[in-house]
């Protein structure tokens, strides 16, 4: 019995290693090619160079698209955070008619194909005569991020007892004071995690940006336009290496905060 268990354990560990290799290989490959001294992205490697990174710093369109993505990301995440947190507090701390209905409908953006949402918003903005610009992309990102924020914050609110808030109010605090001095500080890790999660979603989102950005470029839209020109690929690849490393760092931070945020209790559904 014990031997079979040890064998199973080793087989499992081997399989884990293989799957991890499968998942990481494409990323390592991009990083390797980003230092490769050739325009053609193929083996055998031609030698080490930092040229692509050097060119990266001078690609103005690219830098502009990064700036746009940061702007859209901050705007969309800030608004999503505010809206999603309000929704989370409402559904976790109040019982009202239509609560379940609201929850179901507010979760729908989680399942809608982005291509459908993208064209629907495109039609809306055109019907209203609104010119497409970065903030129309941000609106699209708010719609898809609000449900995520709501679920992350709601999980945190479920993790501490509403009687902490009741105690504050019994001691004479107004609802507003309770909200700002008790509820929100206690939710802080979840709020930061929700913000970072929205930000990274928005920063990497392509489909909605493709339909809603107008003449502007966000980073994914710019990258998409570059993928058609083989000679521009090395630049895209070195950018990939940078973006990947940065987004991994941000998300590790967010995951760590979410763990704290959800507390020792396991994250459970909120229905």
């Amino acid at each position: 019995m014990a031997e079979a268990r040890v064998a199973a354990r080793w087989a499992g560990a081997g399989y884990y290693a293989l799957l991890a290799l499968f998942l990481y290989m494409p990323i390592f490959l991009l990083i390797v090619f980003s230092f490769n001294d050739s325009v053609i992205l193929a083996f055998p490697l031609k030698g080490f160079t930092l040229e692509w990174y050097h060119e990266l710093l001078q690609a103005e369109e690219l830098l502009a698209s990064i700036k746009n993505s940061l702007l859209v990301g901050f705007l969309a995440s800030a608004v999503s955070l505010a809206l999603g947190t309000l929704a989370a507090i409402a559904i976790m701390r109040f019982r009202f008619r239509g609560r379940d209905t609201f929850l179901s409908f507010a979760s729908l953006p989680l399942v809608i194909p982005y291509v459908v949402l993208g064209v629907a918003l495109l039609i809306l903005f055109s019907a209203l005569g609104i010119d497409l610009y970065l903030w129309t992309v941000a609106i699209g990102h708010v719609v898809i991020n609000v449900p995520y924020v709501m679920l992350i914050v709601a999980a945190r609110l479920a993790g501490f007892q509403a009687n902490l808030e009741e105690a504050a109010m019994d001691l004479g605090a107004t609802y507003w004071v309770t909200l700002t001095k008790v509820t929100l500080p206690l939710s802080a890790p979840a709020l930061v995690a929700a913000f970072l999660s929205s930000f990274t979603t928005s920063f990497d989102e392509f489909t909605l940006a493709f339909f809603l950005a107008g003449t502007q470029n966000t980073l994914p839209v710019y990258l998409y336009s570059q993928l058609r020109f083989p000679s521009r690929l090395p630049l895209a690849v070195s950018l990939a290496a940078v973006v990947m490393v940065v987004s991994i760092l941000i998300l590790l931070l967010s995951e760590w905060l979410r763990r704290i945020g959800a507390g020792a209790s396991k994250t459970k559904g909120i229905k």
Partner: protein, 277 residues
């Protein structure tokens, strides 16, 4: 109630209203000007008269089922290993598998292009190993390439709900099975597997729903043979400029997704799985 109105209003104006306007667009004659206000059933006629549209829809649904199947097949053993054999480090090891999924989607697809291309890494490796004599171009620009790339993208997300359903299985049930004389594979088939079924179902849901409308991956690695239903929609808006047709194709996809969600919702709590974000 004042807490709820800002988010509710936002979703109403920028989620439900657009979908309603889009639905009304399906019975218009054209995209702009007078034609966009004229009633017409042209798009419905085009849809029913061209089997190509519905065939691509079927292909996309098959692709999303295949993607879910292979993603779950690859993810289940690793989730099983983490829960039952990896001890205290299982959360860190799980996170390690998710990390690649946090990096740019477009760039991961680009990486697969470099792997599968005719000058790609896969061909190069096979050539050097002497397994093939010349570059095999079949890897890139095919449905298989789309499938491989999509499975790659979705494996980590399939692993999450399976992991959490296995975590919830009470260990004494397995001990009881073993005490009653069940062999390890018997207790797997009759205890572990059935109890992890909600996780498999959730994984199935969270892989198949987003992939059915996928159009970016087919555009980049699928070539002519690999285009999918999502590409049809995108094409009506960015090239053909036939919005009524595009709106109709979108509505068909939306209805299919909503029906699937309603069916799944009887078995899976969406908010629970969504909390993995």
């Amino acid at each position: 109630m004042f807490l709820l109105s800002p988010p509710a209003l936002t979703l109403l104006v920028f989620f439900f209203v657009p979908l309603v306007i889009m639905a009304s667009y399906t019975v218009r004659e054209g995209t702009f000007g007078v034609a966009s206000r004229t009633f017409s059933l042209d798009s419905f006629r085009t849809l029913t008269e061209n089997p190509g549209f519905l065939r691509l829809l079927k292909d996309s649904m098959v692709l999303s089922l295949q993607t879910s199947f292979f993603a779950i097949l690859l993810a289940y053993p690793v989730a099983y290993f983490l829960v039952f054999h990896a001890g205290k480090r299982r959360m860190s090891l799980l996170t390690l598998l998710i990390v690649p999924a946090w990096t740019s989607y477009l760039l991961r697809i680009l990486a697969w292009k470099l792997i599968l291309g005719s000058n790609g890494v896969l061909n190069y490796t096979l050539l050097n190993l002497g397994w093939i004599d010349e570059g095999v171009p079949i890897f890139l620009y095919s449905r298989t390439a789309v499938l491989i790339t999509l499975v790659y993208v979705w494996v980590p997300f399939a692993a999450l709900p399976i992991f959490s359903s296995l975590e919830r299985i009470q260990r004494h049930l397995l001990e009881a099975a073993s005490d009653l004389g069940a062999k390890p594979w018997e207790s797997f088939l009759r205890v572990t597997l059935p109890l992890s079924f909600p996780g498999i179902l959730a994984a199935f849901f969270f892989v198949s729903i987003p992939t059915v409308g996928e159009w970016v991956t087919p555009t980049l690695v699928g070539g002519v043979d690999g285009i999918m239903y999502g590409n049809l929609i995108q094409d009506q808006f960015s090239r053909a400029l036939n919005w009524p047709m595009g709106a109709l194709l979108s509505m068909v996809l939306l209805v299919i997704v909503l029906v699937a969600v309603m069916v799944f919702n009887r078995f899976v709590n969406i908010t629970e799985v969504g909390a993995y974000g």
